[in-house]
């Protein structure tokens, strides 16, 4: 453990991944503790139907968290992902329900909208030098308003688009294994997480993502066009948020324009619990997915145990603080 922490501030991906591995292990242990604890507490917890509803509840937050992990590793933050998700869902609704386009068009438009808005946010951060917190805070409000304006504050339903709800609610696995009808939304999370983990671990983009978070200046001085890479990362994160937009609207059979605010914080919480540091340079996708699972296991478990909602919030908050505290201890040890 101490030998990994010694290399904490190294700029290589290997050191970054090793640092994350410890936290990942811790997060995974936390997840196991929660699952075992809740299973002992309530016989209803570990039933197939409940496991499936936990995974279903993780899918949207998980995809959002995977997207924002990319940005957080660069040392940035994106507060607009919650309302961007909604805006992408709304655009999908506009294309499918209002214009009557076929299903794939809605999915493409949602993802393209996410990528476009991500590009704008990235440009504001990289070129206009607006701090990411402020740029995306502004974007968060702009997008919230835009969703309400486009829809006239009313939800857009997908009743006319056959198969739209199946994107999230249908179950390809259930056709093969009827006993375990895992919703497609969970598969989408799995695929998105795998692809992003591959990007981070195996591609130049991944290496630059970590490098930007560790020492942007050094990367720039070595002749890399950091602005371009950064914008690219925000755009990809935006596209992933677009996928979350499709998932949530498919789940709700509607684009709910007022929804979205607050979802960014849940996603960021999952990222942090999963061991990605907000100061950048370190993080893993597997950790983020585990973080998202911890969040939904916690919410579901407390609910199944009939803990009052006020206390559910308190416990969730304490877990987030504990996770970040663990991270701080580790970093202090490294300094």
């Amino acid at each position: 453990m101490s030998d990994t922490t010694a290399k904490e501030d190294g700029t290589t991906t290997r050191a970054a991944l090793a640092g994350g591995a410890y936290q990942k292990l811790l997060a995974f242990a936390g997840l196991i503790v929660l699952v075992v604890g809740f299973s002992l507490a309530s016989p209803s917890f570990l039933q197939t139907a409940n496991i499936i509803s936990i995974l279903q509840a993780t899918s949207v937050n998980g995809v959002l968290a995977v997207g924002v992990t990319l940005i957080i590793i660069t040392g940035g933050i994106d507060l607009s992902i919650g309302t961007l998700m909604t805006f992408c869902a709304v655009m999908s609704g506009v294309v499918l329900t209002w214009l009557g386009a076929p299903l794939p068009a809605g999915v493409v438009v949602a993802i393209a909208t996410g990528a476009l808005v991500g590009t704008i946010s990235g440009t504001l951060v990289a070129k206009a030098k607006i701090p990411p917190f402020i740029a995306t805070l502004g974007m968060m409000l702009v997008l919230k308003g835009m969703s309400l304006i486009v829809t006239g504050t009313k939800p857009i339903y997908f009743n006319e688009t056959e198969g739209y709800t199946a994107i999230s609610q249908g179950s390809l696995i259930g056709r093969m294994i009827p006993q375990f009808p895992l919703p497609n939304g969970v598969l989408v999370l799995f695929v998105v997480a795998s692809v992003v983990a591959w990007i981070l671990g195996r591609t130049v983009l991944g290496r630059y993502t970590f490098a930007l978070g560790s020492n942007e200046e050094a990367v720039r001085l070595s002749g890399v066009n950091t602005d371009r890479w950064k914008i690219g990362i925000y755009a990809r994160a935006g596209a992933i948020v677009g996928i979350a937009g499709v998932l949530i609207s498919s789940r709700l059979n509607s684009a709910q324009p007022a929804l979205g605010l607050g979802y960014e914080l849940e996603a960021i919480a999952a990222v942090v619990i999963g061991g990605t540091t907000l100061s950048g340079g370190r993080g893993t996708i597997l950790g983020t997915v585990i973080g998202a699972l911890i969040m939904s296991v916690l919410t579901n478990g407390l609910r199944v145990m009939s803990v009052a909602p006020e206390w559910q919030t308190v416990v969730t908050g304490l877990i987030i603080i504990a996770a970040v505290y663990a991270d701080q201890l580790r970093r202090r040890g490294a300094a």
Partner: protein
């Protein structure tokens, strides 16, 4: 290392909570999923539900999302509640259509569903415990009609033309006025989304165009406050009648600026929901709707115990 110890602490705390949860495990369990839990209105609903739970010897839980936009959170809550194999379930749907898969799941499992506060566009719920909004708005029309002497111009500032409560309150008021006070003319029906400011602007524009309006009805808390502010800013003597409560509205009624308002009975909504749920588990037939009641309140009766119990700040 520190953190591992902390994890253990968390695990210990959890197992304590677990003991508390398991103690209830055998009895009849009725979860209520509402539209929220932190507003005073919902707390009052919870109070009624808890009271019925105690009287009938069933375990009642009350859960709801942080705000009324979180449709997906409500679905997750319903799923978690269903996992617990409840005897019956109460739901105040944020969006009926989004909840259909879970409601079907309940139906397939033979768990009776009771809708409360507002209806669900589905035949799955065995009954709906809610305020009879048309009748409640008709009561507001009766009172306003009497106060202005049965003649002159009146207006309605409604909170929504999209939700059933908005439509019912508007129609209830308008129909009653037409039936009972033929000499009263309804000059305008406007929609302010229950937004204070929007309703204020509409009221001011209305009063500018029709200075002789004798009374205005605001169909929910936000609308009523908006109307009140508009009347105040225009220095008009128009009689204002509101709906629901809230601190601003109660203060205005005490000071006489607002003539009175119709209040729903949130405690009754919670009570009747649990009562209906228990009846449904016993296979009793229930009416399609259960009127949970409403009251007129003004300066004279605002402090009566029966009224004060259903008002909130």
């Amino acid at each position: 290392m520190f953190t591992r110890r902390h994890m253990m602490g968390a695990a210990a705390a959890l197992s304590l909570l677990a003991g508390a949860g398991a103690a209830f495990a055998q009895d009849v369990y009725v979860p209520l999923i509402s539209k929220g839990f932190q507003h005073q209105f919902w707390q009052a609903v919870k109070k009624g539900a808890d009271k019925a739970g105690q009287e009938l010897g069933v375990r009642v839980t009350f859960d709801g999302p942080d705000n009324e936009t979180q449709v997906d959170k409500q679905i997750d809550m319903l799923s978690a509640a269903l996992a617990n194999k409840p005897a019956a379930i109460g739901i105040a749907a944020l969006d009926s259509q989004a909840l259909i898969p879970q409601l079907k799941q309940a139906q397939d499992a033979g768990i009776p569903v009771i809708a409360f506060d507002s209806g669900v566009e589905s035949d799955i719920p065995v009954t709906t415990a809610a305020t009879e909004n048309k009748a409640a708005a008709a009561l507001a029309a009766d009172k306003l009609g009497e106060m202005i002497g049965g003649e002159g111009k009146v207006a309605v500032i409604a909170h929504s033309q999209a939700t059933q409560t908005g439509i019912d309150r508007r129609d209830g008021f308008v129909d009653e006025m037409k039936a009972k006070f033929p000499n009263i003319e309804i000059v305008a029906i406007e929609f302010g989304d229950g937004d204070h400011l929007k309703s204020t602007e509409i009221t001011k524009a209305l009063l500018a165009a029709n200075p002789d309006i004798k009374g205005i009805f605001g169909t929910n808390e936000g609308s009523a406050i908006g109307v009140l502010n508009g009347v105040r800013e225009m220095g008009s003597k128009t009689v204002v009648v509101g709906f629901d409560s809230g601190k601003a509205q109660k203060d205005a009624i005490r000071s006489g600026e607002m003539a009175g308002a119709v209040t729903q009975n949130p405690v009754g909504i919670g009570y009747e929901t649990v009562k209906a749920a228990v009846a449904a588990t016993k296979g009793e037939t229930l009416p399609k709707t259960i009127d949970t009641g409403f009251y007129w309140y003004d300066k004279t009766n605002i402090d009566d115990p029966q009224i004060a119990a259903v008002l909130y700040d």
